[in-house]
């Protein structure tokens, strides 16, 4: 695996035409690895009849509310936890 728990990461800010499991609201955002899950078949190829291999490592990544919704203003905070495949993650700048 490429990333460790606690490590800061960035989600790639790229368009992807076709099925993928990276929601728009975290693209280009900074987060932190919370859990390292197992590796799973790649939904981006599996959705089109491929076997989805090789399997891709999945991580649980957390994001601060202020990172995702900077205009939300004051108010009680929370963190978003999102499962992200490794090929959508980049090292933090």
């Amino acid at each position: 695996m490429k990333y460790r728990v606690g490590e800061p990461v960035m989600v790639a800010d790229r368009a992807h035409h076709g099925h993928h499991r990276t929601p728009l609201y975290i693209k280009g955002k900074a987060g932190r690895i919370e859990r390292v899950h197992a590796a799973f078949r790649n939904p981006e190829t599996r959705a089109y009849g491929d076997d989805g291999l090789p399997e891709v490592r999945l991580y649980l990544v957390s994001f601060a509310r202020s990172e995702l919704w900077p205009d939300a203003g004051a108010g009680a905070g929370y963190r978003l936890y999102v499962d992200v495949f490794e090929h959508w993650l980049e090292e933090a700048k």
Binding site: P23, P43, L58, G75, A76, Y78, L80, Y81, D83, F85
Partner: protein, 207 residues
Amino acid sequence: MSTHDHDHTPIGNGDERAAAARARALEELLVEKGVVRREDVRAGIDWLVSRTPADGARLVARAWVDPAFKRRLLADARSAALELGLDPGPAPVVVALENTATVHHMIVCTLCSCYPRALLGPPPAWYKSLPYRSRAVSDPRGVLAEFGLEIGDDVELRVVDSTADIRYLVVPRRPPATDELDEEQLAALVTRDSMIGVAEPVAPALA
């Protein structure tokens, strides 16, 4: 110009929604091409609607009374379900997240409707609705308030978006004044919504 006399009305009920019609058309085609068998589709639906939140509630109640089981549940919910003779379903990984006095989890699937169906049954309609899926991540405290749940500012709120292969199940906090209840009575307090993280378990009836 349409001068021929056959009916152009789509096959199906007049009030059938587009998505339902599309799903049925796909099924027809897949059966016709031999990709799936109709009995497999029916068996899948029968399995899904046979699941209920009672199974998830058994896991939670056991975790409340047995700290060692709770540790196993939080480490590997699939194995813990199998230990109780429950069917954790086809999803390869179920992850249980514990709510405490200082941390509250709520689950959403912004991309579709991922849900631990094997342990909770079919997801409620609101879980699949666009308003819940969008507002759970942008205004979770507002959503929780609408469910009647006020989360204190001192509680760390974690909104979990299940975007991939993991299915998340919340282990809610055990209600106070339940020391006298046995495991079965405790399980009856564990609601579906409390395992999604939008409600607390029901309070025990006052004696």
